[in-house]
């Protein structure tokens, strides 16, 4: 999928959680949201993008994507 769209969407989520004073909770919030609402294909693509440097991702989104669980390709 268009990676810019995915980055924008991930950043929108991070922007919502940025207000959370407890940083760890904010990271969890973003990660949990991605896990619960994003198709694994999108999570995987975002994670690969992150592995290549993740340009354009907000710091909070970056932290959340690092450690995002993605099921192995075969099961999806």
């Amino acid at each position: 999928m268009n990676i810019e769209r995915l980055v924008t969407m991930a950043n929108d989520i991070a922007t919502y959680f940025a207000v959370e004073p407890n940083h760890a909770a904010a990271v969890d919030g973003v990660r949990d949201h991605l896990t619960r609402f994003w198709d694994p294909v999108m999570r995987r693509q975002l994670k690969d993008y992150f592995a290549q440097g993740g340009e354009g991702l907000l710091p909070l989104a970056n932290e959340a994507v690092d450690g995002l669980s993605v099921p192995p390709v075969a099961t999806v």
Binding site: M9, Y16, D39, V41
Partner: protein, 963 residues
């Protein structure tokens, strides 16, 4: 004319707990205090003659036909205006009463045409009935003198009292020669509808009914709700369909398929033909009222544009081939299997619609999850109320509104934000206006001066005319005032809400940046107004919030919904009548389609696909293993189609090419797919991109249920056979069978039984129970066998209410030199959504094109006058509409509706979306507006493409004709 099957008790039901005993015609009768003598008699089976009284209206006491004698009282009091008293002894039939009544009727008849045999009301005319009941045998006065009946006087001159028929309204006619001036119509318009369009002019014998300022009905204030037509005891106001077809012989109770109010109707039928629709007095959502759409705009169901045969084609540039149902099913099955074999299991998906019944929606998601083997199912609620689901679930624990409509009777302060009930939810809008006329206070938060702000006998105490896109800022500011001025309901919060979350939230909203003064420039709302509104909501008694798409369709839609829940929690406005948070749903079954598991991450009942126990219960029932990971949402499907990984889509009842944002992006995605299956009544915009067309059935042709904005499940009942042979759920079932996944339901009720088995909030629901109770509000289960009108009574569904932090983040959609205006969108009363249905009815007489509303100042700057063609350009695209200069707008903001596809309102809207749910940001688009002389490039392309598709369709219809 009243319904042919309902009993009219003459005056409204009294609600007192105190019971009064009295005697009527020697019979002992018990009724609640406040009941009229007329109603008490009617309940005991004794009918007192009447003309000016009817149950929907307050007693008026003008016809003097309902007189009775009461022991110990002088004279002959009118039974409609006389309340019962303990120990009363009443006689309803005495020789004296008979004489008076005969005299009254004689006077009426002496000024009434005697064409009963050819009159449309014949058989159900109350005047005729009363003449029979009182035993009128002669009329002594003759018809030669002054009368309203004949156009000419006896001497051949013009009769000054005569008024010709008014046929201007497409749905009903007004024949003043038959009017008995009982004023039921006038009172229905005032009391029930709240439009105040009719008056009685003149007095005595001269008096007559007139639409406002003596206009024809169509040109008056009248909104064609039909309440007056229903109330009229004679043929003066009659449905044109009744005049054409004659009296019905049976009725079937069903539910309106237009908006989220979910009005109950009695379809009055002659065989399989509908004579007229009459709102059901016992309907729990509408109590006998309706709007123009549900009552009159049903002609689309039998419109010649409907397609009644399946069709297929290989490419969208091919003509259609009319095929048998079996061939269509086999074709779709083989195509979807081919696509899955070639591109992977995830290359196909399905979209359900809020227009479908619960049973249909449930089956589509079942087909996708169990038959396709993925979770790529979504519904059009994605583009309207998905933030409601997310926001209310997160804060309160349940993805639904908290009250029933009647709860507003106990409301002291009504707060309406981003909703326009008088246009979009007319029957509830009328109920709201009734409550406001009775004294409740009103706060409106809306960029436009919606009708509710100033309408007869109603005006908003506060209108916060915010800038589009600043809802969250306004909600936080209201919360700031409540917190910093000590207006929090501390006891409620301590008892009912999570303390840590509340403590965090209190600090958050108390920040100076959210003070009304600091926010003034951002929101455009004066600080004093903001403070006043916050104080009123927090301290004015029961506060109820009603909101709509003006909250959800924003980049911060979900944040806005949570902000609303925060406000209501902080002020203790949950868990009883008169309060709560109430999303007004756009389409009839938005609530139901969400409940039925049509989101890619949720099974029916809002349970995540990753929840093992829930998933196993479905695996067991459906006999397949299911995926525990979310699938693609509608916008994700488009993205996946554009990158070549998503190839097949089964769309039931939804027109994504018209109603989704950024049309050119959507049509590019549709063009990239290999098998698009559209199941619909009409060849809609999406069908132009389809490879398979499956003709669906209208709500009149099938059984099922709809769930309205109050969580109320009501029955849809079949009144005629499906035009194309199958109800929609049967089509899905056949498709599943063709794909090799067994489904064998014999009736829609069996689908509901399965839903009830598998969904805890529906455990107690069945067709049998709905038939028995009339309707049921979920949750309905062991704990709440009769359903649940008010949610969160002793505790929130999630346990403790959870305050969420709702930082205001300005949208990235900003005005600049190139796009200096903000475009926002909405709808109007007479048209419905994409307009596929209402455009095919006479409703176009009120509204036949989408217009761009623009403030006089902005118009003047651009040299635009009313009616000019203007180009509207955003970064997504451009289109051309005619301008309508309007003071309702604020400078800098323009507005349009989206009822006509050629207007291309969604060509302009952008891909921006809600952070949590991807609900599109329809309500904020930066645009420039200029005067132009010709349609936009997109419109020219659209025209050409549509003409080409119509030609291909016409060719196939020809082949059908020859076959």
């Amino acid at each position: 004319m009243l319904s042919i099957v309902e009993i009219d008790y003459g005056t409204p039901k009294a609600t007192s707990e105190t019971i009064v005993e009295l005697e009527i015609d020697g019979r002992t009768v018990h009724v609640p205090e406040g009941t009229s003598v007329m109603r008490a008699a009617a309940q005991a089976g004794i009918s007192i003659p009447k003309l000016c009284a009817t149950e929907m209206l307050e007693a008026f006491g003008s016809c003097r036909l309902c007189l009775v004698e009461i022991e110990g009282r002088k004279g002959y009091p009118a039974s409609c205006t006389t309340p019962v008293a303990a120990g009363m002894k009443i006689s309803t039939q005495t020789p004296k009463l008979a004489e008076i009544r005969r005299g009254v009727i004689e006077l009426y008849i002496s000024d009434h045409p005697l064409d009963c045999l050819t009159c449309p009301a014949n058989g159900h005319c109350e005047l005729q009935d009363m003449a029979g009941v009182v035993g009128l045998r002669e009329v002594r006065y003759g018809y030669d003198g002054a009368n309203h009946v004949y156009p000419k006087t006896k001497g051949g001159g013009e009769n000054p009292l005569f008024v010709a028929k008014d046929e201007s309204n497409p749905y009903f006619s007004f024949d003043p020669s038959k009017c008995i001036v009982c004023s039921r119509c006038v009172r229905a318009c005032d009391e029930v509808q709240g439009t105040f369009a009719l008056t009685i002019q003149g007095s005595g014998f001269e008096s007559k009914v007139a639409a406002s300022q003596n206009n024809a009905f169509l040109d008056s204030e009248c909104v064609s709700c039909g309440a007056c037509v229903q109330a009229c005891p004679t043929a003066t106001l009659s449905e044109k369909s009744l005049i054409d077809k004659g009296q019905a012989e049976h009725t079937v109770t069903t539910t309106c398929a237009y908006c989220g109010v979910g009005c109950s109707f009695r379809a009055e039928m002659k065989g399989e033909e509908i004579v007229r629709m009459v709102p059901n007095k016992d309907g729990h959502a509408n109590h006998g009222h309706s709007c123009v759409k549900g009552r009159f705009a049903i002609g689309y169901a039998t419109h010649p544009d409907r397609i009644n045969t399946p069709m297929i084609r290989a490419k969208i540039s091919d003509p259609w081939r009319v095929v048998s149902w079996d061939e269509a099913f086999a074709h779709v099955a083989s195509e979807f299997k081919r696509l899955q074999a070639t591109y992977g299991k995830h290359a196909v998906g399905g979209i359900t619609s809020s227009r479908c019944t619960n049973e249909e929606t449930y089956l589509v998601q079942k087909l996708v999850r169990a038959g396709f083997g993925n979770n790529n199912v979504d519904t059009c609620a994605r583009v309207c109320h998905s933030p409601t689901g997310y926001g209310l679930k997160t804060t309160l624990g349940e993805s639904a509104g908290t009250q029933d409509f009647d709860s507003i009777e106990q409301t002291d302060v009504v707060l309406v934000i981003g909703a326009n009930p008088t246009d979009a939810h007319p029957v509830f809008g009328s109920q709201m206006k009734q409550r406001l006329r009775a004294g409740a206070k009103l706060i409106v938060i809306d960029p436009r001066r919606i009708d509710l702000v100033r309408t007869p006998h109603v005006h908003a105490d506060y209108h916060l005319k915010l800038k589009p896109g600043t809802n969250v800022a306004v909600l936080n500011t209201l919360a700031h005032v409540i917190v910093t001025e000590g207006l929090v309901d501390e006891a409620f919060v301590a008892l009912r809400c999570e303390p840590e979350a509340f403590a965090k939230w209190r600090v958050f909203v108390a920040q100076d940046k959210y003070s009304p003064e600091a926010m003034e420039a951002e929101t455009g709302v004066a600080a004093a107004l903001m403070r006043g509104a916050a104080r009123l909501y927090a301290t004015g008694g029961n506060g109820a919030i009603y909101y709509g798409l003006g909250v959800t369709e924003h980049a911060q839609g979900s944040t806005g919904v949570m902000g609303i829940a925060n406000l209501a929690m902080a002020t203790g406005n949950f868990g009883r009548e008169g309060v709560g948070v109430n999303p007004l749903r756009g389409q009839n079954n938005v609530q139901g389609s969400c409940d039925m598991g049509s989101f890619p991450n949720e099974f029916p009942g809002y349970r995540h696909v990753g929840d093992d126990a829930v998933r196993h219960s479905f695996e067991q029932a459906w006999g397949v293993s299911l995926l525990g990971e979310p699938g693609l949402r509608i916008p994700n499907m488009f993205e996946a189609a554009l990158d070549g990984s998503f190839k097949g889509l089964y769309i039931e009842g939804e027109d994504i090419a018209q109603s989704d944002p950024d049309t050119q992006h959507v049509t590019a995605a549709l063009s990239a797919m290999e098998c698009i299956v559209v199941q619909d009544l009409f060849f809609n915009e999406t069908a132009k991109y389809a490879h398979v067309f499956l003709p669906g059935s209208s709500f009149l042709e099938k059984d099922g249920t709809f769930t309205n904005a109050e969580r109320r499940i009501s029955r849809v009942r079949k009144v005629m056979a499906p035009k194309a042979g199958y109800a929609d759920w049967e089509i899905t079932q056949k498709l599943a069978q063709a794909m090799g996944y067994p489904m064998n339901y014999g009736h829609a009720s069996q689908i509901m039984d399965e839903i009830a088995r598998l969904t805890p909030t529906f455990h107690g629901v069945s067709f049998e129970k709905i038939d028995r109770l009339g309707s049921i509000q979920w949750p309905c289960n062991e704990e709440h066998p009769q359903g649940t009108p008010v949610l969160h009574v002793d505790e929130f569904v999630r346990g403790k209410g959870r305050f969420m932090l709702t930082e205001y983040v300005p949208t990235s959609e900003k005005v600049n030199a190139e796009h200096p205006l903000i475009l926002t969108t909405g709808r109007i009363l007479s048209q419905y959504n994409g307009g596929t249905q209402t455009r095919r009815t006479a409703n176009v007489m009120w509204y036949d094109e989408d217009r761009l509303e623009i403030h006089p100042h902005d118009a003047e700057e651009r040299g635009v006058t009313d009616g000019d063609w203007v180009g509207i350009r955003s970064r997504s695209g451009d289109t051309v509409l005619r301008a309508m200069i309007s003071e309702r707008m604020q400078p800098g903001v323009v507005y349009t509706t989206f009822h006509f596809p050629g207007s291309g309102a969604n060509v302009i809207t952008t891909e921006n979306s809600d952070w949590a749910t991807n609900c599109p940001e329809y309500k904020v688009t930066a645009v420039q507006v200029t005067r132009v002389t010709q349609p936009s490039e997109w419109q020219k392309r659209y025209r050409a493409f549509s003409d080409e598709q119509q030609a291909l369709l016409d060719q196939s219809v020809d082949t059908l004709g020859q076959a």
